[in-house]
Symmetry: C2
Subunit: 558 residues, 2 copies
C-alpha cells in the first residue's frame, strides 16, 4: 500500500539508478502532478543468463497514471533514455530534452514504431519550462556526451536540483564549459534538496578533462605506421570529435563503422554536435576502405566493451567483412571496461595483439577519461548549492555511502542526508525528508522479443542448467502393474561428456527402474514417481560426480 501523499510534501520515487548502476528513472510528485526524470535501461549482469536488457519496473507509474505529465531527460545515454520505447507504449506523455538527446532518441522510437505518437519538446540549457506546479530550469553540465543538462525543479516547497551525470571539465572538447554560474545563483537563492551523481564518489581528486586525450591522440597519430582503429562508446561524441580532429591534422580520412556508431554520428553531425572539417575526409562506405593507403585511414568503431557482435570484436575474430587487422595497424580502445566486461575486453585486446597490431588501452596509455565527477568535484557542487537536504543518486551502494561521507565532511547536516535505494518512496517537506514506503522495483527483463516473460524462476533454472546441465528421464509405466514397459530412457546435456558417461547413465537406468518398481503398487501417481526418480537419481548422480544436474523425469502411463 502506497501511503497518502500529504499536500505539503514533494514525493520522490526512483524506479532505478540508486544503489545500482543504470536504468535511471525518478518520479517527482506533488499533489495531483508528477514528472518522470529520465527513463533508462541497464545491461544484464553475468548471472542474468540470456537476458538482453533490463528496464525499470513501471508498477509505480501505473499506480499514479492519472498524475503523470511528462518525461524530462538529462542526456542521451542508454541508461537515461533507453527504456522510453517501452514506457511510451503505456504512458503517452510529452518528452522534454535537449536537441541531441531527442536526436538520439528519435531513431529508437522509429524502430519501435512510435515516432508518430511521440510528442518531443526540445529545450535548451538556461531555458525553463513549466509543467503543472513544476518549473523546470535546465542548466548545462559536462559529461561524456554533448548537450547534457542538469535540472532545477522549482516546486511550491522549494527548489530541487538534480545534477544528472556530470563532471567539471573547464576545457571540454565541445567548448561549452559547465554552467557554474547558474549553480552559484541556485545556491544563492536556496536549494531545498540536491540529488547528485555518485558514480565516481569513491575516486579521490578530480576527474581529468577530455583535453588530456587530445595529446595522447596526437602522439598516436604522429607515430602510427598503418591504419588507426579507435573503438569507443558510440555515444561518446566528444571522443569521436577528437579522433576526427587528429585525423584531419595528420591527413587521414575517417570511416565510421558499427551500427550504433554510424547512427549516432549521423544524428550528431546533422544537429551540429560533431564537426567534420572537410566532408571529403569521410569514407562513407566501409567496403571501399581497402582502396585507401593504410596510413591515410582512421576507423572509428564500436566494440570498446568487447560486445560479441560489435565491429572491433568481429575484427579480432577475423570476422569483419571489410577490415582485416594487419601487423602495422594501431588499435586504440578508448574506454574503460564496465565491471563485468573486463574478460571480454581483455580477450579482444589479446586477439588483436596476436594479429600483430599495436593495441593501446587505458592501462598502458591515457586514452580514456571518465565522464563522472570525482570527490573534489562533488565537494564543489555541495559547497556551491549548500542544499538543506541531500540524496546521493546514481551509483551502487558503496558510492552512495561514500558520497554521504563527502557531504558530511563539507558541512551538510548528517540528519539531512538520506541514502535511499531504488524503490524507496521518499517524502520531502519543508523540514524533513523521510522514507515513507516502498514500491516494487524488481527487475523487468527484456529477452528476445518479449518483456517480462523471463522472471526470476526462469533465471534460476538457467543458472542451475549452466552449472551442471540437465538429465532427462523418460519412463513408460504400465498403469496396471506399476512396472516399466521399456527400459527407462535417459539423455543428458551439459552434464558429463557422453562417452565417459555411458557407464554412469547405464547404472542410472537400473537405479530408476528399481526405484519405480520397488513401490509395487498398481496405478501409481505420476507426480509421486517423478519425485521419486528425481530424489533417487539426484542422490546417485551426486555421489558419483559431486554434481547436481537439473533432473526432468517424464512419466507416461500406458
Amino acid at each position: 500500500m502506497t501511503p497518502h501523499l500529504p499536500d505539503d510534501a514533494v514525493r520522490l520515487v526512483s524506479l532505478g539508478g540508486i544503489g545500482e548502476i543504470g536504468k535511471n528513472c525518478t518520479v517527482i510528485e506533488y499533489r495531483e502532478h508528477a514528472i518522470v526524470l529520465d527513463c533508462g535501461i541497464t545491461f544484464p549482469d553475468a548471472e542474468m543468463y540470456g537476458v538482453d536488457l533490463v528496464i525499470p519496473n513501471f508498477s509505480y507509474l501505473r499506480e499514479i497514471r492519472h498524475k503523470l505529465r511528462a518525461f524530462v531527460l538529462t542526456h542521451g545515454h542508454e541508461d537515461h533514455i533507453g527504456a522510453l520505447p517501452f514506457a511510451l507504449r503505456e504512458f503517452a506523455l510529452p518528452i522534454y530534452g535537449s536537441r541531441l538527446t531527442l536526436g538520439i532518441l528519435t531513431p529508437k522510437l522509429e524502430e519501435a514504431g512510435l515516432e508518430r505518437e511521440a510528442d518531443l519538446r526540445e529545450v535548451a540549457a538556461r531555458e525553463t519550462v513549466t509543467i503543472g506546479p513544476f518549473r523546470c530550469e535546465f542548466f548545462h553540465v559536462c559529461h561524456s556526451i554533448p548537450d547534457a543538462m542538469g535540472i532545477a525543479v522549482h516546486t511550491p516547497l522549494g527548489t530541487l536540483v538534480h545534477t544528472g551525470d556530470f563532471k567539471l571539465d573547464y576545457t571540454p572538447v565541445d567548448g561549452v564549459p559547465p554552467d557554474v554560474q547558474t549553480l552559484g545563483r541556485l545556491g544563492n537563492d536556496g536549494v531545498q534538496l540536491l540529488l547528485s551523481d555518485s558514480t565516481y564518489a569513491d575516486k579521490p581528486g578530480y576527474t581529468p578533462s577530455e583535453a588530456v586525450i587530445a595529446e595522447t591522440f596526437e602522439r598516436i597519430f604522429a607515430d602510427a605506421p598503418g591504419r588507426i582503429v579507435v573503438a569507443t562508446f558510440s555515444s561518446l561524441i566528444s571522443r569521436v570529435q577528437q579522433v576526427v580532429d587528429a585525423a584531419y591534422a595528420f591527413g587521414r580520412r575517417v570511416c565510421f563503422v558499427g551500427r550504433s556508431m554510424e547512427r549516432n554520428v549521423s544524428v550528431a553531425r546533422a544537429l551540429g554536435y560533431l564537426h567534420v572539417p572537410d566532408d571529403r575526409m569521410i569514407i562513407e562506405d566501409p567496403a571501399t576502405l581497402s582502396r585507401y593507403p593504410a596510413d591515410e585511414v582512421a576507423v572509428i568503431c564500436t566494440g570498446s566493451q568487447g560486445e560479441p557482435r560489435s565491429a572491433l570484436v568481429r575484427m579480432a575474430n577475423l570476422d569483419h567483412r571489410f577490415i582485416d587487422i594487419q601487423p602495422d595497424d594501431t588499435v586504440v580502445v578508448s574506454a574503460a571496461a564496465i565491471p563485468g566486461n573486463e574478460e571480454a575486453v581483455n580477450r579482444t585486446i589479446d586477439r588483436l595483439t596476436r594479429m600483430g597490431a599495436q593495441v593501446l588501452y587505458e592501462r598502458i596509455s591515457p586514452v580514456h577519461v571518465s565522464g563522472h565527477a570525482s570527490q573534489e568535484e562533488l565537494k564543489f557542487v555541495l559547497t556551491t548549492l549548500q542544499p538543506r537536504f541531500f540524496m546521493p543518486v546514481h551509483g551502487e551502494y558503496r558510492h552512495l555511502a561514500e558520497h554521504r561521507r563527502i557531504a558530511e565532511r563539507v558541512g551538510v547536516d548528517a540528519e539531512h542526508i538520506l541514502v535511499a535505494e531504488s524503490g524507496a518512496i521518499v517524502d520531502l517537506s519543508a523540514d524533513a525528508i523521510e522514507v515513507v514506503g516502498a514500491t516494487d522495483v524488481s527487475h523487468v527483463f527484456v529477452d528476445g522479443l518479449t518483456v517480462g516473460e523471463v522472471g526470476d524462476v526462469t533465471l534460476r533454472d538457467r543458472r542451475h542448467l549452466a552449472e551442471d546441465g540437465v538429465v532427462v528421464v523418460v519412463v513408460n509405466v504400465d498403469r496396471h502393474t506399476g512396472k516399466c514397459l521399456t527400459a527407462p530412457d535417459i539423455i543428458s546435456r551439459g552434464f558429463v561428456h557422453a562417452p565417459e558417461a555411458e557407464d554412469l547413465l547405464d547404472r542410472a537406468r537400473d537405479v530408476v527402474r528399481t526405484a519405480i518398481e520397488a513401490g509395487d503398487h498398481p496405478d501409481p501417481d505420476p507426480q509421486y514417481l517423478q519425485n521419486k526418480i528425481r530424489s533417487t537419481l539426484g542422490r546417485r548422480l551426486f555421489r558419483a560426480t559431486r554434481r547436481r544436474p537439473v533432473i526432468l523425469p517424464i512419466v507416461t502411463e500406458v
Copy 2:
C-alpha cells in the same frame, strides 16, 4: 608428431602459463632428461560453466615419461603448485621446493592421500642441486608470498634463468630483499636464455613496496571504532604479517577465519614465516569472538575475491556462524579483484556497506599492492642478465607482446626474442631459438570429483542451456501407422516463465504433432523424427520468442 630433439639443443615446452594466466608448468628437456618447473592450476573463467578448476594437459609429460626426473617449484601459489596432487598420481617424481612452498603443498598432498609416496626435497635460496645434466641454482625473489625463488638452470648449452613470479621490493615485509647480487653474477657469467614474468608488463613505472601498506594499516587501526576485518589472499603471508603487526601495535587480538587462511597461517607459523609477537594475542576459536570488545579484535579472513563460500561473503550475506557485521566495523579488502571477479567483489562490498560497515578497498585507499614487476623492474632484470635469447612468460598475450617491446627497447636483439604461447615446442641451440612443433594443451577441467570428463562439448551445451534454457518433447509414435499415440508432451526449464508460456507450448504441441504425422509413412526412423521435431519446433519457437532453447526430442515407438 613431436619432432626429434637434437643432441645439441635444450627443449622448452610450456603446458600452461604463457599467453594465459595460471596453471604454470614448463618442461625443460635435454637428451634423455627432463625436469618440470612448477605445476599449477587456474580457476575457470566465466564461460566455463560449473567447472571447479583447470589443470595443465599432461599429454606431453606422458610422451616423455621415461625422461622425467623431477618437479622443481618456484613458490607456493596455487597457480604454481595446485596441480601437483593430480600430476603425482601419474608421475611419481621427486619435488624440489623451498621450505614454505613444500609446507603449503603438504596438506594438499595429504588431502589427496599422496603424502606417503611424495618425495619432497627442500632446497634453499643460493643452493644448487644437480638433476641429471641440469644444475639448478635457486635465488631469492620478492613476491606476494615469502620464500619465493627464481631458478638458474645451468645446462651443457648454457644457463637458462627463469625469474618465477617476482617484483623488486627493497623494503619487503619479511626483511629478505631480492637477490640482485646473484642476478649480477649470472649476468656476468653469461645467460643463454631468460624467461621472465610478464604479468605486469603493461604497467609503467615500478610496483610499490609492500611497505606502503603498513602506513595505511596504521591509519586504519588508529581510527577504527569497532572490529577490523581484513580479507586477503590466504597465501599473502606478508600481508597477514602486516595486519598482525598493526594489531599488536594497537593492542588488538587477531583471529584467523576461513579454511585456507587457517591452514596457510598454521603452516607459515610452524615454519617461521609468520611471526606473532605474543601467542596470547591469537583468538584460536572464532566461536569465542563475541566475548571480546569489538575494538580489541582484528579478524583476518578469506573472501577478497568474492568467492561464494568464503568467510567474507558469508558475513556479507548474514550467513557467517560467528561474525555479524556491525555498523561500527571496518572491513578492508586488501587485494585486487582478478579480472572476472569484479562483480562478485563489488557486490560483497555493497552488501557490507549496506550493513553500515566502513569498507576500504583498493580504489579508495592504498590497501593493496601487486606482487608482480612493472616495466622499470623488467628493464632492470633484462639489463642485468643481458640474455642472448629471451622468452617472455606468465601473462596473457598482450603482456607478452609488451614485454617483447620492453626487451627490444633495452637492447635485446629482436631476432632473439621469442613470443611462444603454451603448447609451443621450443628448441634452443647455441645460436638459435625456434618453435619446432606443438603439443596438446587443451584445457583439462576438474569438475566435482572427476578430471577430464567435462569437455568442450559439455561446456558448449551448458552455455547454450544458460542462454535460453531447454525444451523437452516426448512423443509416443505407433510404429505401424506413424501417428502419435498420445498428445506430445512438452516441458521446459529456463526458457520462458511457465504461466505466460502455456499458450506457446500448447501451440508447439500441435506443431510437433503435425510435423510428425505429415510424413505419413509407417515405421519412421526415430532419428529422422527427432531431427524433424528439432528443426520445426526450433523455427517456431524462435519466431515467437527470438530465443533458441536446447530442444531434446525423445521419440518412443510403441
